[in-house]
């Protein structure tokens, strides 16, 4: 396998590096992890850790959209926040445009903040209700002390127009807008500094279906127009399929499968991905009877004490003894399609051999 990288000492074993994609990588995440300490007693001694993210690696090419999906608690939002440095990683590395930003001080990080922006889920709590739209969208210019050509007001009005809002609403307050419009305000603010990479954490899940489609289309238009790169974090598999070029599926703090969009949705390899896809209700009553369903039993185990080896083995119908003993590495089973499973589905017979090889010598 293409493991030209030096093994990451801090990351748990068994995580192969992501393959280098053909295009220029804008963002590289390498063995990234976050353990939140759980303390107890008077002295707040650490007694355990919530392993929210436990060694994820992927890269994002310039101009592409990477979708990060998984159920609540799988660590997808934590990953997004670590990339933004809103959370400091416990281990691993985030490289943006060739610069390692993991350990940069806040002062050194500030210039990079322009290039990295975030869209938040809830358009109600992410906008300060006491500030006008003008002040909200214009704030990034002030914070970064950027001189705009025709003044901040003009720049803000251009941004409002760009996201499909009336520029005359400059002096209005967030409560005067509907949910979809608020999300547009959030997007306008995100775009103010012409970022290169946008992390969108559940950008449409708080919106109604009809409005959701408007915002999805807007995000796509802006990507074409401004040459943006997105990491979209979402739990809705159909939305992710619509906007992503590549998709990574997370389960309990790890990436279990990462592939091109069509590959992942048409030939999912990891059993968990299969289960997720088959759980999505299909809006067609004719499909009700004929569909083959996989029903997972029980709940996601606690990230404080994740199952050993393959984390999915407690709920997997294909699990065998090896799944409880040896953690399957993330292996490229077909071009551009990686999965971490001892018994992948939709994979050619030699693929299973690849997994066994990689398992035998994980530090190769």
């Amino acid at each position: 396998m293409n493991t030209s990288k030096t093994p990451e000492p801090a990351a748990p074993a068994g995580q192969n590096a992501a393959p280098r994609p053909a295009g220029e990588a804008l963002l590289e995440v390498d063995g990234l992890g976050k353990h939140f300490p759980v303390t107890a007693g008077l002295l707040r001694r650490q007694v355990a850790a919530v392993k929210a993210v436990d060694g994820v690696s992927f890269s994002v090419r310039k101009g592409e959209t990477l979708g990060l999906v998984g159920e609540s608690g799988c660590g997808k939002s934590t990953t997004g926040r670590m990339i933004m440095r809103l959370l400091d990683p416990s281990f691993g590395r985030v490289t943006f445009e060739g610069t390692d930003i993991t350990k940069l001080s806040q002062a050194k990080l500030r210039p990079h903040r322009r290039d990295l922006q975030m869209i938040f889920q809830d358009p109600y709590s992410s906008l300060n209700p006491r500030k006008t739209v003008g002040a909200l969208v214009g704030a990034p210019f002030k914070l970064q002390s950027i001189q705009t050509e025709h003044g901040v007001k003009k720049a803000v009005q251009e941004l409002l127009e760009l996201v499909g809002l009336n520029p005359e609403h400059y002096n209005r307050y967030p409560h005067e807008f509907s949910g979809g419009q608020r999300q547009r305000i959030g997007i306008a603010r995100t775009l103010a500094l012409r970022p290169k990479l946008i992390i969108a954490d559940e950008p449409v899940s708080a919106l109604d279906v009809s409005v959701q489609a408007q915002v999805v289309n807007l995000l796509e238009d802006l990507q074409d127009e401004l040459d943006l790169t997105y990491v979209v974090i979402a739990h809705d598999l159909s939305v992710v399929r619509h906007i992503s070029d590549r998709v990574a599926v997370m389960y309990l703090g790890k990436i279990v499968e990462i592939a091109d969009r069509n590959d992942l949705y048409e030939r999912p390899m990891h059993p968990y991905t299969n289960a997720l896809l088959s759980a999505v209700p299909i809006p067609d009553p004719a499909e009700r009877a004929g569909r083959e369903r996989i029903r997972l039993q029980g709940d996601v185990p606690s990230p404080m004490d994740p199952p050993p080896a393959c984390r999915f083995h407690t709920r997997c119908w294909k699990a065998q003894d090896i799944c409880k003993q040896v953690e399957p590495p993330l292996v490229e089973l077909s071009p551009g399609h990686q999965a971490a499973c001892h018994f992948p589905e939709n994979a050619a017979a030699p693929a299973t051999g690849l997994v066994a090889d990689a398992t035998a010598k994980p530090d190769d």
Partner: protein
């Protein structure tokens, strides 16, 4: 007291377009809602959350009520349970559940029906269970209100119910507090509580919206199984057309406090006759189809319920508003039966609608 109960929220200008008028024939279906209006007077004006809604439901069948936020679906469900405070809500019309008109009945009668004949599953199980009492105690309480049994018997029943909804080790988990349950298990416990008195009508208000897809699938399976077992009527309120397609027999699409389309699930998905339903179907990305390059959103946003547009409430957002000779701007379309069991409220000629669906809408889905 008697006069206040049936507070007439109907305003003079609305009387004209109320179909049927004061007919009060006994219902032929198990649940029958006739011309329901639920209005809330506020400082800014009257919020017409539900404005002339009628539907019927038999036991053993499921009705899906679909709509966006503010379309009046949750207000309707609370109305059926008689949960609106009559001091700030004006409820009129008729809601027949098993032979009793909830709107006209006195609070004591409604209270006896609630929990026993009809019960409800709420969206967020964490905020609808009391954090201070064990799950078992809350189910026992609900059961003992309606059944004259000892605590021991009720507790046994609670354990039995928890087992039925798929909670592992119910004899032990019955003494857990809600926070010790995961989201999916809390929703199961909620369902156990709602079903503890074997209700004939179960209202599920966004029962799976707060849950992950895999857990959602479990809960939908559970509802389906329990319905077969108890033969209950289910009203499923959701914004997710996928959930509706999985579970419902009939669909009521609501917009701006009124029904715009009311049909069997098959008709609603395969031969919808209202532009709003088309819009909903076109806005969703679908996993069961080829990926489309672009979604087809409905332009604009849902109307304010204080100032519902004159005429057809959907008119300002309708993609085909130019095709109806301006009638939709002035005249509110009634819900009429266009085919057996298929009603829609739209001024566009039926043939034109069928043609548009076949030629313009369906190919793009």
């Amino acid at each position: 007291m008697g006069d206040k109960r049936v507070a007439r929220g109907r305003r003079p200008e609305l009387v004209d377009d109320a179909p049927g008028g004061a007919a009060s024939a006994p219902p032929s279906s198990f649940v029958e809602v006739r011309d329901l209006r639920i209005h809330f007077p506020t400082d800014d004006g009257i919020v017409k959350s539900v404005d002339g809604l009628s539907f019927a439901l038999e036991r053993g069948r499921t009705l899906g009520i679909v709509g966006e936020s503010g379309s009046g679906k949750s207000v309707t469900s609370l109305g059926i349970l008689g949960l609106h405070n009559r001091r700030n809500a004006r409820v009129s019309g008729e809601i027949w559940v098993g032979g009793t008109d909830i709107v006209g009945a006195d609070p004591e009668t409604v209270r006896k029906l609630r929990g026993r004949t009809m019960s409800m599953i709420f969206q967020d199980p964490l905020s609808s269970m009391h954090p201070f009492y064990t799950v078992g105690k809350q189910i026992v309480e609900a059961y003992r209100v309606h059944n004259d049994v000892s605590k021991q018997v009720a507790r046994k029943h609670a354990i039995d119910m928890l087992g039925r909804v798929g909670i592992p080790n119910p004899a032990k988990r019955v003494d857990d507090y809600p926070h010790q349950f995961s989201g999916g298990m809390r929703q199961r416990a909620m369902i156990a509580m709602a079903l503890s008195c074997d209700p004939e009508l179960l209202i599920a208000d966004e029962p799976t919206t707060a849950l992950d897809v895999t857990v959602q699938a479990q809960i939908l399976d559970l509802l389906r199984d329990l319905q077969q077992e108890f033969n209950s009527a289910i009203i499923m309120i959701t914004h997710d057309l996928g959930v509706v397609a999985e579970l419902s027999d009939d669909i009521l699409v609501m917009y701006g406090g009124r029904a715009v389309e009311y049909a069997s699930v098959d008709d609603a998905f395969h031969r919808p006759l209202h532009p709003y339903t088309w819009g909903l179907l076109g806005s969703m990305p679908r996993l069961d189809r080829e990926r489309t390059a672009r979604l087809n959103p409905i332009k604009g946003s849902p109307p304010s319920l204080i100032n519902v547009p004159q005429g057809c409430a959907f008119n300002p957002r309708c993609a085909f508003r130019d095709l109806n000779d301006g009638r939709s701007e002035t005249e509110r379309p009634e819900l009429v039966e266009l085919e057996p069991g298929h009603q829609a409220a739209c001024h566009l000629p039926l043939d034109k609608r069928r043609e548009l669906w076949e030629s313009e809408i369906r190919p793009k889905l």
